[in-house]
Amino acid sequence: MILPRGVADLVDFTWLIGGPQGSGVETASTIFSRVCAKAGYQIFGKREFHSNIKGEHSYFEVRVSNKTVRSNSSAVDLMVSYDAETIFRHYSTVAPGGSIIYDLDMRDTETVDVATMDPYFKERLHAEIRRLGVPPTVRGVLDAAARSGVRTYPVSFRDLLADLAEQHGNPRLKLMKRMYNVLGVSLSAGLVGLPRDLLLGSVQDVFSKKAMVKKLNADAAAHAYDSGADLGDLAHALAGAEKLPGTALVQGHQGTAIGKMVAGCRFQSYYPITPASDESVYLESNEILDVKHAGPGSISVVQTEDEISAIGMMIGAALTGVRSSTSTSGPGFSLMAEALGWAGINEVPVVITLYQRSGPSTGLPTRHGQDDLLFAVFGGHGEFPRIVYASGDIEESFYDTCLCFNYSDVYQLPVIHMMDKFLSSTTVTCPVFDPSRITIDRGRLLDSIDGEYRRFQLGGDGISPRSYLGLKDGIFWNTGDESDETGHITEDPVVRRQMMDKRLSRMDIVLERVPEEEQAVCHRTGEYTIVSWGSTKGPILDALEMLESEGVSVGFIQIKMLHPFPARRVERLLEGARVVIDVESNQTGQMGKLFSQSIFRRIDHYILKYTGRGMTCDELHDAISDIIRGGAPHRTVLMHGS
């Protein structure tokens, strides 16, 4: 359980590294995360970056604790930076008592020298600088930070590199600014007393491909670590914690990717798009699969010409009886709207993993958002059954991926698995995924045919036995038109009604048969209860623990099945809730609309964020507190993050 900052025995430490995109910030943060995790800490790390390949500002925050952490906090304890932009953008988030390691060389850099800072940010920065009464330089803002109790550690990255060049007898090394990252992370590790061997080990792991580079980086790390250790008096801040066995360090896309492997997905089509394609690239990189009692299996990953083709190919593959999926983001999903309905009318089990990002249109393509929910639920012309299912964190996403495939097979419909950029760009520690908890249920998929076969046989619960292309004697037809039991076109009004009812009755069946806890998770109930979905789970749980430690108990219902909406369960769980608070990362409170249309109840308060940045537990904590205190507006908009 997270306690407020300063409670004894609790480690709750946030590290931030920033720099131009493409310069290696990601590598540095990978190393830091690994070291902390190996040192026994739980971590939550998240990356923010521009829609740009090189040069724009990117940063990574890692929260480190000896308890579970599931979100970022608004305050930073240690920031390391070798570029001015990082300082300008983040100095004010460093908490009093926190620290900044920075590059001496940039002390005199002025705000106007930083071309990548857009005018809007600059304007706000200048206002702040004027208020602080300091010069518009790195030195100026650092002085201001120091005044408010932040420790600032100047370091000459150039000198460190020069030392290394000398050590290796290679003067060209002096120019390798890329190495600033390893230096930065190692300085940090030294300063906070992370175990030195873990750092060196992690650096070597990360650069394992080329021996030369590996050695060089390890030497740099060692040297910088030692310099860091000399810097100050935080030596025991992160000296280590008791390691939980079976802890994994996972990245955002690995939950769904490994979930697909285990679930038996053997075909994935995709068209590149941020933040979805990492998953497909990971699958393709690991396309050959170990299979128990058999030779290697594999997943065919096909990069298509567009998302229309991606969904078409996925459906074609699924018709052969293969578990098939695609992975995309908003713009790609828009292009899939038509074929989604085809899968719906033909009862084809497919899974679309929808990694949301900020819309509308191209929007903020590398930023977070939860704004595709209503589109996932209502997208595509006409009416057809589908399931929309959302995971709250990476660990869940592994198990949920397998559930989604089961749902699609058992109920014979397309499943849209809602993920988002918050999840995809996170690195966290969590209990390693446990495939033994997975069950595969292929529903009424046939493996042989007995007698006459009709794909869309009416009767019973309306879920017909399913043949597949190539199955002996299992011939069927499919069509986007309304069809009869064999799958041939019909315009008969009576059959039309039967078929519409057959398909759509599945929405009730799903709510009846899917276990209630899979539909909505009740974390707690209370007079004030939060309803939410997807990746807000982490910040909410962290905020609720903060409130708890203040003696305030707030309920939380995490809705996982968004469509069909588990109205009865949610209604029942909310019986004792006087005030319902909807937390979402979008502008219009989309889930709140599903909620109200299903249970005819008003949302009392909305807490929304749509800047493209994820919620921190602090800002959420404050917003909830305000509501409980009374007088908060109907709609609170969160703004933290650069």
Partner: protein, 319 residues
């Protein structure tokens, strides 16, 4: 027992207009399937949306009537997942060369082992006769309010530049020849493209059966069918050597012939290249046992338990 043409027919009522060229194409497909002895449940006909799109309902194999313009995407997905299937995709000229042109180009690059047949009638039949992309500039079949404003696409040329390795044309009233083209196309390893001239007696009152037969030609003595067979002229469509010289020659001659229209319209094989690595082989380079163990043959669970063993990957994630 050997399968007969009749075995490939369904009893679905066929509601194409009397005299429609589509009938000949369906017959030719059924004849080709029977002659090649392809098991009914080992073949799938994918179709687009249009009059032509109904084809899959008339053929007694697996039949997937997809979406307007998307037939190639469904077909390719199925074939990659189950390379054992015989996959034939069919659709209209609007379907394949208008709304579907992007997939047409991409499929050429992939060159997966399947056959694609376009029913080329110059119009959008099922939506009542608008201009299709193959209709020539300035022509005005009866349901156009104005003469066609656009140039036509050249299906043969487009197929060749898109990378199709077998490119041919048939005529829906020459069923034996068409059947032969289909058999060659199905047997070809790679994506084979077949442009079938298909009169639409209802909406295309320009390129009619009589017109193809040349009955409108003024000089009665000189009257002749507009259609001739490339093979009758000694034309050799095949790339024989994997060098640039032969390739350049075969591509150029095919493109030049593809521009023929009017009084001399070639049918037959325009271009054939067997020196291209097949898609399956390329897949094998990534996945060594792809052919023996493609997605459709893989077992994924045993009594509900997953068979995939990800312990290696998971181990690498442990801290």
């Amino acid at each position: 027992m050997a399968l007969r043409v009749a075995d490939y027919k369904t009893d679905v009522h066929n509601d194409w207009c009397p005299g429609c060229g589509d009938f000949g194409i369906v017959n030719a497909i059924q004849m080709a399937l029977a002659e090649m002895g392809i098991e009914r449940d080992q073949a799938t006909i994918f179709s687009g949306v249009g009059c032509s799109g109904k084809t899959s309902h008339f053929i007694n194999t697996y039949g997937i009537h997809t979406l307007h313009g998307r037939v190639l995407t469904f077909a390719q997905g199925a074939k990659v997942a189950n390379p054992d299937l015989t996959v034939v995709a069919v659709g209209g000229d609007g379907d394949g060369l208008g709304i579907g042109a992007g997939h047409f180009v991409a499929a050429g690059r992939r060159d997966i082992d399947m056959t694609y047949i376009i029913f080329d009638n110059g119009v959008y039949g099922l939506t009542k006769g608008q201009a299709s992309p193959t209709l020539k500039l300035g022509e005005q079949p009866k349901s156009l309010p104005k003469p066609n404003l656009n140039y036509n696409v050249n299906p043969i040329g487009l197929a060749i530049t898109s990378g199709y390795t077998f490119v041919a044309r048939g005529y829906s009233y020459d069923i034996r020849h068409l059947k032969d083209m289909i058999m060659q196309a199905v047997r070809h390893r790679g994506t084979s493209f077949l442009d079938v001239l298909q009169p639409c007696p209802t909406y295309n009152d320009i390129n009619t059966r009589d017109w193809y037969a040349g009955l409108d030609m003024k000089d009665v003595a000189e009257r002749h069918s507009r259609i001739y067979k490339l093979e009758d002229t000694g034309y050799d469509p095949a790339v024989h050597y994997a060098d640039r010289g032969d390739l350049d020659e075969k591509i150029s001659q095919a493109l030049i012939r593809s521009l023929d229209w009017g009084d001399k319209i070639p049918i037959g094989v325009f271009y054939k290249n067997e020196h291209i690595t097949s898609f399956e082989t390329r897949m094998q380079e990534h996945i060594p046992n792809y052919i023996e163990n493609p997605p459709a043959r893989q077992r994924i669970s045993e009594e509900g338990s997953p068979l995939t063993d990800v312990s290696g990957l998971l181990g690498s994630l442990l801290v």
